[in-house]
């Protein structure tokens, strides 16, 4: 949109400032600056460069779907109920993205949520959750079971 200089400064006062982010799947998303400021990786860039916000900031490690979820989480002030609608894959993607974007509050929130999910669950459940292959040898496995018999008791249903 074309604006004269006078109109632009007026618009800035009235509208919420936005920053354009470019996700890994090539989607340009306009995000409120208050949310962007939680992303240390973007914030430091914006602050240093006093930037031209019209140039999209590239986020090669975050998909548009994950960014959508993150924006909604921040907008909802980290609402537990909303987070509970996430699939396991979404939880992990948000976790990794929060780490990459250096969003301290979000990382803390999502790590707590995942820890709560894993609490009192079997080792097998944890492996499935993170798609981890059990690389202990049968001998090591037997040794672990022998010395930690009680570890495998008192579990919640997966």
């Amino acid at each position: 949109m074309q604006k004269t200089e006078g109109e632009e400064s007026k618009a800035e006062n009235e509208e919420v400032k936005q920053v354009t982010l470019m996700t890994s799947d090539g989607v340009k998303m306009k995000v409120e600056i208050s949310i962007v400021y939680e992303m240390e990786i973007v914030r430091s860039f914006i602050e240093v460069n006093d930037a031209d916000h019209s140039v999209p900031f590239p986020l090669p490690n975050v998909s548009s779907h994950t960014l959508d979820l993150i924006i909604e989480l921040v907008k909802n002030e980290y609402d537990d109920e909303f987070m509970k609608t996430f699939s396991h894959d979404e939880l992990k993607e948000v976790l990794v993205a929060a780490n990459y974007l250096n969003m301290k509050t979000l990382l803390d929130f999502i790590a707590t949520a995942i820890a709560n999910l894993l609490e009192k669950k079997s080792v097998e459940f944890i492996r499935n959750f993170f798609n981890i292959v059990n690389d202990f040898t049968p001998e090591e496995e037997a040794e672990i079971r022998k010395t930690n018999e009680w570890v495998f008791q008192d579990l919640d249903e997966d």
């Binding site: 944890i126 059990n134 202990f136």
Partner: protein, 207 residues
């Protein structure tokens, strides 16, 4: 997906020491090797409901071993034992103060949990063991030195907050934990008083 090490460490911290030791370290070899990083075990918070103390002791020892002497904070509420405390003092260089060999230590399960240790030079040290963990003793004093005999050999605490020390000079001394004053000296043993225990308002000693 491979989780970055930092992210995994964050999750381990959220899981807490007990869950981590019980299950996370059995997931795969990568997790186990990350979990053996002493930096993860600066703080060992084993907050618990008090219904599984046998396992907690074993797990706590493992956690202390993982800390490789870098332990700074520990919460062993509900399952602290003399053995465990001895293990802590043996494997950490964080509680520093004794100039002589530590002969005995005792855990005081009070509102503010304490550790009391006695050394071969007669030194008695009181340590705070609730977070934040202090590296220097809360208080310290010595029993009267006698060149013939060597220091404290056993310790116990009664419910009314008196400290009993078994000494190389064949006596048992009773100290007030409030102001470290010597309340009385009990004699009778012919050799070093090497063990002490309080049970149902009776003090038992062995030499």
């Amino acid at each position: 997906m491979d989780l970055p090490r930092d992210v995994l460490c964050t999750i381990f911290q959220k899981l807490g020491a007990i869950e981590t030791l019980m299950r996370a370290q059995h997931v795969c070899s990568v997790w186990r090797s990350i979990l053996k990083d002493p930096l993860l075990w600066h703080t060992i918070d084993m907050s618990n409901s008090g219904d599984m103390d046998f396992q907690l002791g074993i797990m706590c020892r493992r956690a202390i071993n993982y800390s490789c002497g870098h332990l700074l904070h520990i919460n062993i509420k509900n399952f602290g034992t003399d053995d465990l405390l001895r293990h802590i003092t043996d494997s950490t260089n964080s509680l520093q103060g004794h100039e002589n060999k530590i002969m005995a230590s005792v855990y005081v399960d009070a509102e503010e949990p304490l550790c009391i240790s006695g050394d071969s030079g007669g030194g008695i040290f009181i340590w705070e063991i609730a977070a934040p963990f202090r590296q220097d003793p809360l208080r310290k004093w010595s029993e009267k030195k006698d060149w013939r005999f060597s220091g404290i050999h056993s310790l116990t605490v009664s419910k009314n907050r008196s400290l009993y020390t078994g000494s190389g000079d064949r006596t048992i001394k009773v100290w007030s934990l409030k102001d470290e004053t010597l309340i009385c000296t009990m004699t009778g043993h012919k050799y070093v008083v090497s063990t002490l225990a309080v049970c149902d308002k009776v003090l038992y000693s062995g030499s």
